[in-house]
Amino acid sequence: MNKELLLTAGIHLLVAIVILGFILFVVMYMIWGLRRIMGFMQVRIGPNRLGWQGLLQTPADALKLLQKEDVIPKGADRWLFTIAPIIVFVPAYMVYVVMPFGDGLIAKDLNIGILYVSAITSIAVIGIVIAGWASNNKWSLLGAFRAAAQLVAYEVPMILALCVPVIFAGSLRMGGIIEAQEGGWFTNWFIFRGYGIPALAFLIYMAAGLAEVNHIPFDIMEAESELVAGFNVEYSGMKFALFFLEEFAAAFTICAIAVTLFFGGWHAPFPFLGENLTGIAKMAVSLFWFLAKTAVFVFVLMWIRATWPRVRVDQLMNFGWKVMIPMGLFILLAAGTVVTLGWVKL
């Protein structure tokens, strides 16, 4: 056998396992954080018994889900029912290939970077539709219909908003977009530049992102109070855990991409906070800044989840097609205009 080939394959496999471990760890503590934060906001305590401050609660819950009996409903299409959670989870995992965790901490800086992210995430909706249909349950099917309509509608404003930082940076590469926001001070981040056009794009991106990851106030495909639990009502045990994992991994992705595109990626807000380091220290500090900034947005998402009511289906569709898409087209035009006329210093 070719030794070099085996070595390369081994390194790639190791990176893949590290990323999977990172996702599992982050999702577990996002769930713990969500339960504690929502508890705080609703004036109750939340899980605090198992381990210090309840830190072992979600690992224990995950173990419990793993041990559960794998129930497949009698009328379900067994094969499709089983493959659907995998189709939903794998794209959410693959996105992490281009995630810029820090200086030099990126699995592969593809030259199509952000386009890859939107292309890969568009696969998940197929898994949701298949899950809803294969369950052979009216609630599931209704959830799947809603999912398809919602995800396809909100993909458009999301991609339009993503175009704005790409136009400003002149690159689709994650690394290129971060380089364009370099310079030490936080005023170089796209969100504070370009006459507020990127700031508007950020708002559109976050709103569309909430809809894409099925988050309150746009979680009408799950809608516990009308659809029981939507497309995943028949799922239990490990398969349900995969849907759950995907939802939280995707929410983290939305926040991380927002940080990368609009908030300077792994750069520190002030030059004296780690911009002058080199080597391994720079890696560690940049990883810290990336995770810290992302954590702020994850917290905002949880805050929204704890405080906002759910929109109705027709409101969601109206908002998507009649507000978000025209606004997205407008900011795209505005960004193109200011860059072409040279009104922004790039």
């Binding site: 499709l80 199509i112 197929i126 539709v129 396809v152």
Partner: protein, 173 residues
């Protein structure tokens, strides 16, 4: 044939594409066919990546997987009669269809064979890495020499959309 990363990846992806394509046209359950159609599209995207055409691969995923497969699934799921129905994928004209299929296959096969006999070894040769950024090349092509066909394509899409709305619109009286 030498074992290189490229060859292993090519054979794996090509096998996946062809196998799922066969499933698309043979499975009795139309929703499963649609699912395998998705795997075929993903396989084609993988082949594009191996040919150093990442932008084409991303577009393949975005349009064929993210939009067209979703549309097909949506149409299937909305059609009540198809739920749980087993359908055969061959019609009464199986003989004529078979002849047509063999003719098309023979045409493609002869094209390939004549190409190989000219001395190019397509399987072993790895596509050359492009010297300049292919993304930039495509962008410049679309904006400069091919701007009219590009705009025309979007105009045709607009016409199709307006047409669909006119047909679907309810008569008020």
């Amino acid at each position: 044939m030498e074992i290189t990363g490229y060859n292993v990846a090519f054979i794996a992806i090509a096998a996946m594409t062809v196998t799922s394509a066969i499933f698309v046209v043979t499975l009795p359950n139309i929703l499963r066919s649609a699912l395998f159609l998705m795997f075929t599209f993903i396989g084609v995207a993988g082949l594009y990546v191996l040919a150093n055409a990442e932008i084409l691969a991303a577009m393949q995923l975005l349009i064929y997987v993210g939009a067209i497969t979703v549309l097909i699934l949506f149409a299937i799921v909305l059609t009540q009669q198809l739920m749980g129905a087993r359908i055969t994928q061959t019609s009464r004209n199986i003989v004529l269809g078979g002849v047509a299929a063999i003719a098309v296959f023979a045409f493609i096969a002869t094209t390939f064979v004549s190409h190989f006999s000219k001395g190019s070894d397509m399987i072993a040769a790895q596509p050359a890495v492009p010297t300049s950024d292919p993304l930039l090349m495509i962008a410049k092509m679309l904006i400069q020499p091919y701007v009219l066909p590009f705009e025309l394509a979007s105009f045709i899409l607009l016409v199709a959309m307006v047409g669909a709305i006119v047909i679907a619109k309810e008569d008020k009286d």
